[in-house]
Symmetry: C2
Subunit: 191 residues, 2 copies
């Protein structure tokens, strides 16, 4: 992917362990030491690559969502939107604590916030633009979603995952796609 980060196998291993520990213990109780112990690495090895816990968690977040860094290419706009929505739901379910932690850290950590913009938000914007450009090429729609609200679907689904008891489901995504996104994009239903 254009501009995406790539990690070594060893780094991926450390990030996978970080995600596991986050899932088990949450952000507050995660320690860089525990990650190092489980990976049989020294703490300084981990810190050399990710100077703070926040950096480590952001990297783990990006690794955990890597599957959504490329367009799903199902062959139709509806299929692509449903697949992307399902991806956000899965990620939110598996990595809810990580997501919450990243959002929280971002609010008082400008450097992390900038990294998140560059390494995550911008990547996802490219994916959405690509999905819509392909739909325009196929003649399914005439114009993309307004730039200002390009992240309407993932944003709403993330919001829903933050509210306990309102975790988004496949049905949420289907209704959002069929009753809101496709009509607002002027989807003709023909490909």
């Amino acid at each position: 992917m254009r501009g995406a980060v790539s990690w070594t196998d060893r780094e991926v291993e450390l990030l996978t362990i970080t995600l596991d520990l986050l899932r088990q213990h949450g952000y507050d109780r995660l320690s860089v030491e525990a990650v190092a112990v489980q990976a049989k690495a020294s703490k300084s090895t981990v810190y050399r690559r990710w100077p703070t816990k926040a950096d480590l968690v952001l990297a783990a977040f990006i690794e955990g969502t890597r599957v959504s860094a490329v367009p799903p290419r199902t062959g139709s706009l509806r299929g692509d939107l449903l697949a992307m929505g399902a991806g956000v739901c899965n990620h939110a379910r598996e990595h809810g604590a990580t997501m919450r932690a990243v959002l929280n850290e971002m609010s008082h950590n400008p450097r992390l916030s900038e990294a998140m913009q560059k390494e995550f938000v911008h990547q996802r914007k490219l994916v959405i633009e690509e999905v819509l450009a392909e739909a325009i090429e196929r003649g399914e729609i005439d114009a993309p979603i307004d730039d200002e609200i390009f992240d309407l679907m993932p944003g709403y689904l993330v919001f829903r995952s933050l509210i306990s008891g309102r975790a988004p489901t496949q049905e949420t995504v289907r209704i959002l796609v069929d009753q809101v996104l496709l009509p607002s994009l002027g989807f003709t239903g023909q490909s």
Copy 2:
């Protein structure tokens, strides 16, 4: 309002002080003691009414958003949606730290989460239902938004407020209303 909480003048005063202190210092550095000192109240007075800091902050949040607990009644669906969107943006700008804190606390505090559902989410759902019912009565639309995604606009705007550098503006709301919500509701443009 149906089912809304009502507070005494003294309680409103305590909640206003809480909101001020939250805005100045954020959730983590807010202490119930500081609220009591500034209100010239005893700590036990505050604790008697709100047993934990989380309860106090939730109450302050609800107080701070009271203006949005009634339909705006501008006379048109478009006007109502724009007004409600602007309300969410204003609130998010003024009380971002409180909102973030409430969302965060909710994730590991089931009692708070339930209170939030009952005293906030449910109230806002009634307001949205009322706005859409009035639009149907005026003949502006035929059917309301699907129940599953009734909070699409506030949810997305809240998400945007959580991402630094992406705070929603009047323009965000206008695009969301004109290019997404109204078309998806089958708005005819006639009232």
